[in-house]
Symmetry: D3
Subunit: 66 residues, 6 copies
Amino acid sequence: MPLVNIKITRDGATAEQKAKVIEGVTNVLRDVMGKNPQTTFVIIEEVDCDSWGIGGETVAMRRARG
Amino acid sequence: MPLVNIKITRDGATAEQKAKVIEGVTNVLRDVMGKNPQTTFVIIEEVDCDSWGIGGETVAMRRARG
Amino acid sequence: MPLVNIKITRDGATAEQKAKVIEGVTNVLRDVMGKNPQTTFVIIEEVDCDSWGIGGETVAMRRARG
Amino acid sequence: MPLVNIKITRDGATAEQKAKVIEGVTNVLRDVMGKNPQTTFVIIEEVDCDSWGIGGETVAMRRARG
Amino acid sequence: MPLVNIKITRDGATAEQKAKVIEGVTNVLRDVMGKNPQTTFVIIEEVDCDSWGIGGETVAMRRARG
Amino acid sequence: MPLVNIKITRDGATAEQKAKVIEGVTNVLRDVMGKNPQTTFVIIEEVDCDSWGIGGETVAMRRARG
């Protein structure tokens, strides 16, 4: 009964992409560890680029700088 | 000083329901483990149904299928 | 299908206490929001007192100071 | 490669404040533990005041009461 | 730069299985969403069966009951 | 009342280093956002190198390869 939490930057991921990620990750856990898909939860959270930092600055700043 | 994080699907939980969950969970921790409510934090996060997967598909897809 | 994550300081919580917290929190979510216990997950994580800070110092330091 | 998740109440934190927190926290981890800023991720999540509880009631209720 | 957190029950997952899950999940995010593996972090956390609840009881209790 | 969760690889961080990180991060939130240290929680979690992945492989594998 794995719980998976995925955080990505908010960049227009479509419902279809999110569905495919959920399916793919669930399959990985089933194939590698034998985890039951029926009790595998996957949650995708999108985070704004001005709330996500790497290298000491926000992703928004990185992208603005090019 | 427990920290509680509760994720639910975004289904129109009211402010009153959220307040009751916060009160109830805080009381459980006080009654069972003697935790001080004044330093018990409870955070409720609502997740869209197309970002929550179970059984390898999104909750949105499950519900659409009926 | 709520997911609940509870962090507490590592203070010798017993298996029985953890079971009661899991039962109690699951019941709160069922009673207040109508959530199905069969798909309610509750995870309890215990954190060492020298890895938990409040007021800018660790719980271990607070307790040592009395 | 530390991962830092910061949850704050949604109170109008500006992009500039969030950027400064990201920079400051990244510097603390570099200065104290020698962590490489280029692989230090910091995510800030803002939580509504009616979804955040302390002392068994929501922050929204606390503030309304004054 | 996705962050993935996977919680599983502590059931003797091997280092090899964990490595395969990390590889597989990273590939799903690259293939479906074009995410760069070099900034994709995956963390696996194992939780004791008496600290994980479902259906209002711990996994340990469920298993003991058979 | 910020909640801060910091995950680092398990690499022998000392209690003193953890205390300094807690103090430093608490100060950043006070100085930049005016957050009250008395209700600022900071939790540090250490993750084994074979449970932490980046670039599709574990940190343990990366280090072994040199």
